[in-house]
Point group: C2
Chain length 555, copies 2
């Protein structure tokens, strides 16, 4: 394909996407920076549809559908409408399949009417999907012009699980080119913006999901996370985001970057406007025997005892570790404040908090980045080669094409043997970190190691487009394979989050970061915290997350 050709294809694709939105749902452009209120004011949604989509708690929505208070058709239409509006304001969607979704909803309503029983644990729940999850009959480009025209022959394993559980996929959402960014922009669909402030990024790579959820155009979205891709967008957009351990949920039938880079595995990463959304998704998926669909999935069903915190003192008098700073990038004031709020909240709820000093973090970052860049960029080059589309080297809107941020700088390709040495090093670092975690048992006073770790999601909140850096505060848990959960805590308040006096910079990135902070730029942007437990403690983390979430809400 020559350069003109790919641009033509992209133009056709964008038009097709817009045409998938019914005319009545088209709204005028908005001059606003914050567009969160527009769904309520634009007169596209009925009062019932607003009531439905303003529901943030997935368990409430499920129970209202199960009890026939709301039909699945009403619910699905409401979210389709609001997603269409969200897209017009934030450019969050990549694929729209409202028609089959509404048909599925009607069938589910019929099923419930006929049998009196929901089809499954997610009966009637509209679910949005990141542009990696193949849906039978739908084009799957993952933001690559080169991949346009490929129609999936089958649903991805996660999509099968969702359908079998009664959920209704209705849209797919935007991603960055290559996926390996915490912003969202590509040659096919362009840039997704943050509905809290459209001059800020919603994060990435599940940035389309996060923008859509913040707009309440979805209540539960299925993202992915290999370095922070579900958690950074959740933090930037004020929602809940989760990264389970490797291979608890199936990635079979998904398209991806760096296929075969199995050392730091891509995880299915749910995002939701409620913690209940993440919990019901995890429980439904793990109860569906996902190992029968994907040979890499661990044969480990949802563990109700673990969720009851049987191994964590039944959730009473927990002891948390707290890491304020990774000693490479000092977090901005609102991030620090969210940590302090969380500490106070859990202490007020009867738990204790001890400090966790970062441990070999810089070494873990270095190994992780070396593994990701081990192919010398061959995977990315191969993905764009068919169309001739350019590589996006910077996420800055006005970027000099030659400018490449430090964490994306191409490296010499490694040999398989060199890669093995990195794997071995990573294995040792994981062992060291585990031993360190276990050793906290001597300080907690509970007889156990810390029950969970509280730490920043990123050193900043949503930044202006092009200003994100290497996602070290999240990627560390991918490298170590610890599950990690993001909870929304607060929003930036310039009166509280004042710029600190200049300090000695630890490194270049730390200096840039200090300079970047301006309370007025970030005003009103959401701030989250990250909670982390040991490998394959998904159930315990979600339960501890609920304890922290309640404690925060009680403050």
């Amino acid at each position: 394909m020559n350069p003109t050709k790919w641009q033509e294809l992209v133009e056709v694709k964008r038009q097709r996407l817009l045409q998938a939105i019914p005319r009545d749902w088209i709204i005028p452009p908005s001059p606003n920076s914050n567009v969160l209120d527009i769904p309520a004011s634009c007169a596209v949604l009925s009062p019932l549809e607003l009531e439905i989509t303003n529901t943030s708690d997935v368990s409430v929505l499920l129970s209202n559908v199960a009890s026939s208070k709301w039909t699945s058709l009403d619910v699905t239409r409401a979210f389709c409408k609001r997603a269409a509006i969200a897209h017009q304001l934030t450019n969050c969607l990549t694929e729209i399949f409202f028609e089959p979704a509404l048909e599925s909803a009607a069938k589910l309503d019929d099923h419930l009417k006929r049998t009196g029983t929901p089809l499954g644990p997610l009966h009637g729940l509209p679910v949005s999907l990141k542009d990696q999850y193949c849906v039978k009959g739908v084009e799957t480009s993952m933001g690559y012009a080169s991949w346009l025209g490929v129609i999936a022959e089958d649903d991805a394993a996660m999509v099968k699980i969702l359908r079998d559980s009664g959920a209704i996929p209705y849209v797919r959402t935007n991603v960055p080119q290559t996926l390996m960014w915490t912003e969202t922009h590509n040659n096919v669909f362009g840039r997704t913006v943050n509905p809290y402030n459209r001059s800020l990024t919603p994060g990435g790579s599940s940035g389309g999901e996060a923008a859509l959820l913040a707009m309440r155009g979805s209540i539960l979205g299925i993202g992915t996370d290999v370095g922070g891709s579900s958690r950074v967008p959740a933090h930037f957009c004020g929602i809940y985001g989760f990264k389970p351990s490797y291979h608890r949920l199936p990635t079979a039938g998904m398209v991806n970057s760096l296929e075969g880079q199995d050392s730091i595995a891509t995880c299915v990463g749910p995002l939701s406007t409620s913690l209940s959304g993440i919990k019901v998704l995890m429980k439904a998926s793990l109860d569906s025997r996902p190992w029968n669909l994907d040979p890499y999935v661990i044969r480990k069903p949802w563990d109700e005892d673990a969720y009851a915190l049987k191994e964590h003192g039944e959730g009473k008098s927990l002891c948390f570790g707290i890491m304020y700073d990774d000693e490479t990038l000092e977090p901005h004031p609102p991030v620090k404040r969210a940590l302090e709020m969380t500490k106070k909240a859990v202490e007020a709820a009867g738990h204790s908090v001890i400090e966790w000093k970062p441990y070999k973090n810089a070494e873990i970052y270095a190994v992780t980045r070396s593994i990701w860049l081990a192919d010398g960029g061959a995977d990315y080059k191969s993905a764009i080669s068919a169309s001739g589309e350019p590589m996006i080297n910077s996420m800055k809107p006005d970027a000099d094409p030659s400018e490449v941020p430090y964490f994306r700088k191409p490296r010499e390709p490694l040999s398989a043997y060199q890669l093995w040495q990195l794997h071995a090093k990573k294995r040792q670092l994981r062992k060291d970190h585990l031993d360190r975690w276990q050793a906290t048992a001597s300080q907690t006073g509970t007889g156990r190691p810390i029950d969970a770790l509280i730490c920043p999601v990123a050193p900043y909140v949503a930044v202006p487009h092009g200003q994100t850096r290497s996602a070290v505060y999240t990627l560390i848990w991918n490298a170590l394979d610890y599950p990690a959960l993001v909870l929304p805590v607060t929003t930036v308040d310039p009166s509280l989050d004042v710029k600190p006096p200049m300090h000695e910079y630890r490194n270049c990135a730390d200096q840039c970061l200090y300079k970047l902070y301006d309370p007025e730029v970030f005003k009103g942007a959401p701030v989250g915290v990250q909670l982390v437990t040991q490998t394959q403690e998904e159930e315990a983390l979600l339960a501890i997350g609920a304890i922290v979430d309640e404690a925060l809400k009680a403050m």
Copy 2:
């Protein structure tokens, strides 16, 4: 180190090993080919020590120690003696630490006397270890002259678990140079031979373990398995051998070949003279929370429901698949007979058997071999470089040094990107194979897919030294990550296992294999079968294994 130097070091090491055997336990050389009876006739062991070491059932031994019928000291001394004899006849040991073992035994006896309670589920059980498991204070060379002189500072995770469970490590056992052979010979310790017929190999890489166990110099040994290393030796030596799924048992603190080759993970591979030995080891290890010692271990304790076959009709009317032949290497007559015996036995016990045709086996073999050889031999070269010891290219006693068997031929080193493509291909093959297994549900008549697969362990029984080939019948389950269990079935009987008429050869290796078969050469050699279940079905496989084992014994 120069060539003379490494040979001197090796000589010193071999002398030190022999000197670790008490003088009274030294026996005269034997001219016999089959040396299995010598422990009973050599007058080193007392009648009680013979009774103890002739016990093959680990649960019987454990109960006799727990009930104080036998002291742990008596048991340990008996196995030390018999191991010393086994070593003199088969060259199976690499490290001898009888003294600390006897001290541990005395302490355990004291504990039991004082408290009335065994220390743990393996109280008083002597356990042999493959020369990969570090033992604090013991040299760990893994058969490399270059590694001589390295003393372990800590016990490997598995050794910790054994000690905490009350087991007593007392010897380590021989391996092939590089581990990546199914025979056992290296520059430091030389060649281990098969006690059934010393002109045959005991297999490898856990060949020292298998020879020791066949001699009853151990009742439970901890080997490893990355391609058949616990199963081929078990088959060749008439014992039980097990390969669990990746990361169920901890490999932390172990030395290994191809460190960082994480795609096809090395598994802890127990071998025993009884199936109960493997079961108690698995249960004790999984109940010990091994994920607290090794971050790669799956957080999945021993599952008693799975062992009760809750998901396999409670073990009633099982349906087995049987694969007679992988369509690349036709099995020898005794291997085919063992399969037929197994089929008849399970049918007589009320189960059914359907045929399983090999599925993409050749593709799986090719990908596996390409992954193992991806470093172009860099790992092996690095391991021998310090001493100047030669690479062993062939296991033949009279090998031309330039002769390299086809499955060991060096390849061009691959790039990390090329390795990733192999990982991606392997992932697809695993998915294809899973779908194929699941699809058998339409043929079994049970409503379930086949409960387990019966297949050869190798196309041959123990072969003359230097005659083993690529371990395709075992490595396939490593590549697919299915647990696999070897049960002993019979021994070669020239009157039953006659050489078949010549057939059309499928390939060179198949032709060599046909020519190799001579019933008189293999007379009396043990024959096993392999049982396979789905990923992480260890408990179910051990339970199904017990059903098959009983059925075979009942024939």
